[in-house]
């Protein structure tokens, strides 16, 4: 029963195989029959993930689960489930019908990669997980084969990720060279802050920062988000980023804890850059996907405030914020996806007067955006507050000040969307339509999450009980 420790990954692999087999035997004209089973299967996996199970290390410490990583995986799984729900509408389109199961397989395999990354006990596993979480995503980004933008997004993603993983690897090689091992628990003893290690860390940091979209390693983000199919974008912005943040935080808190005094400053600087640049770019966007891309960059900057906290509070908060962020961003992307799939409209001014034709979607969007902006009583408020608290705990009040001022800018552009939906009038508003059941379910989950997670404090407490001693 040792394999139960790896139950998340194994279940996912199992689904992948099932889907692959079904795909092979399914006639071409009935491919979309796979959607419901896939979602149900995945939902089952999600629920199974919550069942308490053994934790521990396997493969000689190369694979480690702790209650913390289990929880992180569960959080990611929830997010992916919502993404699945939201993708149905898009998958049912004629041009996508024949690659439904591919979509699922690719998506799940990236999830597998992330989960291995989270559970990795050495840099090799970590690296493979990282690549597994990236390469299929490039394929997904280019999934809309007949859209030039999608291909461009794929190019940009695969090439940037290749470069970044090259740089990351260079850093890793230097760490290996100075420490002599790749196992985390041994690496930690060898880290002593020598210049070469700092160099190695910076290179490694760049590789991770690419995944999290930290300035100046973020430039791919907006283009890829804009070009990718919208559900892939939401996946990229939420799951991929969330996983990277969580694993990076763990690595910083454990493996690199000896040079915390150094990386805190790295994070400090990049956090400021990220928030500011992200916000400044987001202000001027018209395309909603691109807009949310920059917003998610800014959010990453905020998350770094929690990372810089380097305490239990910081760890808990980062995870908590990722959870909140999943619901907020997926809420926003869900609405954009629904509207984009129905009307093809993705610009902010297309949303003029939306509230008067589609009030529920507008409200969902508004709640999601307000949560992103950190408006109470939505979950985002709590998340941000705790992030700032984590940074303040270290006495970094100036950083907190810059961050809160940045939230003002972010509020500004979130309000621009709200303005379009609620305040503006339009001659040709998006006509009323009824979205499909899956999307609606997804949005309802998001809204419920937004409203509940903050007010209902046990969520935070639940996370908190696992983060003890991680820093």
């Amino acid at each position: 029963m040792l394999m139960l420790i790896m139950r998340h990954e194994l279940l996912l692999v199992l689904i992948t195989v099932i889907l692959l087999v079904v795909e092979i035997f399914l006639p071409a004209d009935r491919k979309q029959k796979i959607i419901l089973p896939a979602i149900i299967l995945f939902g089952a996996v999600m629920i199974l993930g919550f069942i308490p199970g053994p934790t521990g290390s396997l493969f000689g410490g190369m694979y480690i689960t702790t209650p913390l990583t289990v929880m992180m995986k569960n959080i990611l799984t929830i997010g992916v489930f919502i993404v699945f729900l939201q993708s149905v509408d898009w998958l049912k389109k004629a041009e996508n019908r024949e690659k439904i199961s591919e979509y699922y397989i690719l998506l799940i395999s990236t999830l597998i990669g992330m989960e291995y990354m989270l559970s990795s006990g050495d840099f090799l596993m970590f690296y493979i997980g990282l690549e597994l979480a990236t390469i299929p995503l490039a394929a997904l980004a280019a999934f809309d084969r007949f859209k030039e933008k999608s291909a461009e997004a794929g190019v940009k993603l695969i090439f940037t990720s290749a470069l970044s993983s090259g740089i990351l690897l260079y850093g890793l090689s230097m760490i290996y060279g100075t420490v002599g091992t790749l196992y985390f628990d041994e690496v930690v003893n060898g880290i002593n802050g020598a210049p070469l290690q700092i160099l190695a860390f910076i290179f490694f940091f760049a590789g991770m920062a690419f995944k999290i979209s930290i300035v100046p390693f973020h430039l791919w983000t907006a283009d890829v988000y804009e070009g990718s199919p919208i559900n892939v974008t939401s996946y990229l912005s939420v799951i991929s980023k969330g996983a990277a943040v969580m694993v990076f935080t763990i690595l910083l808190y454990t493996v690199f804890s000896k040079i915390a005094i150094m990386w805190r400053d790295v994070i400090y600087i990049t956090a400021i850059l990220t928030m500011t640049i992200g916000n400044l770019f987001a202000m001027r966007q018209q395309n909603l996907k691109r807009f949310l891309a920059f917003s998610s960059i800014a959010q990453a900057g905020f998350i770094f405030l929690g990372v810089v906290g380097q305490s239990q509070l910081g760890m808990t908060t980062v995870i908590y914020f990722v959870l909140v962020y999943i619901f907020s961003n997926l809420g926003a992307f869900g609405v954009i996806a629904v509207i984009s799939n129905r009307t093809g409209k993705e610009r902010i001014d297309d949303y003029d007067g939306l509230y008067r034709t589609n009030p529920k979607l507008s409200l969902t969007m508004m709640l999601a955006l307000f949560s992103l902006a950190g408006i109470p009583p939505l979950a985002g408020f709590f998340g941000k507050f705790f992030l700032f608290a984590a940074a303040a705990q270290q006495g970094l009040y100036i950083l907190v000040l810059i961050a809160v001022l940045n939230t003002i800018i972010s509020l500004y552009y979130y309000l621009l969307v709200v303005k379009a939906m609620f305040l503006n009038r339009s001659d040709q508003p998006i006509a009323y339509f009824k979205s499909d059941g899956y999307s609606r379910l997804g949005l309802v989950i998001c809204v419920a999450g937004l409203v509940i997670i903050g007010i209902y404090s046990p969520v935070y407490e639940f996370i908190n009980q696992f983060t003890f001693g991680i820093y």
Partner: protein
């Protein structure tokens, strides 16, 4: 100067020269060929370090696999006679600067670093050991990565197929 040093210098000269040629040659097929030389020389380095198995893999996968893939795609997408356009100077000089500064930085830092004394194990790693390690699930065993990379390859394959396959109609 030992023969090893000479060999190393030879290989590294090839590597450096052909690397530079790879990124500067204006004929794309030639660039690919130069890349092949680089990869082969790298395999030579591995031989030098007594990593025969690795060198073999390098030759098979890299030289044999990836480069061939690259050449195929070159043939698919480019005309052989065509000369690649050169990048603008505005692009070249900053890139050169960055590369030089980066290289200088790394080299300085590396040379300053005080590595632990070298052990210098010259033994050949046996293929058996490698094989055992690959299926070993204890420490320093690589069963798990080996399995996971298969998922990666599968996913990459599916992804590549989905992208590259032609429309049915």
């Amino acid at each position: 100067m030992t023969s090893n040093q000479i060999m190393f210098l030879l290989f590294s000269a090839v590597i450096v020269i052909f690397s530079i040629l790879t990124v500067t040659s204006r004929r794309i097929l030639r660039a690919a060929t130069y890349l092949l030389f680089v990869l082969v020389s790298t395999a030579g380095l591995y031989f030098l370090l007594r990593y025969n198995y690795l060198a073999a893999i390098q030759l098979i996968v890299y030289a044999g696999g990836i480069v061939v893939l690259i050449i195929f795609s070159i043939l698919l997408t480019s005309h052989i006679s065509e000369k690649l356009p050169t990048a603008s100077l505005l692009k070249k000089w900053p890139a050169l600067l960055v590369a030089l500064v980066g290289a200088a930085l790394c080299v300085t830092v590396i040379l300053q670093h005080n590595f632990p004394g070298s052990v210098g194990n010259t033994e050949l790693v046996s293929v058996t050991d490698i094989g055992n390690s690959l299926i070993n699930y204890g420490k320093y065993g690589y069963a798990l990565p080996f399995e996971v990379i298969s998922v990666l390859l599968l996913a990459a394959m599916i992804g590549a197929i989905v992208l590259a396959k032609k429309r049915k109609d």
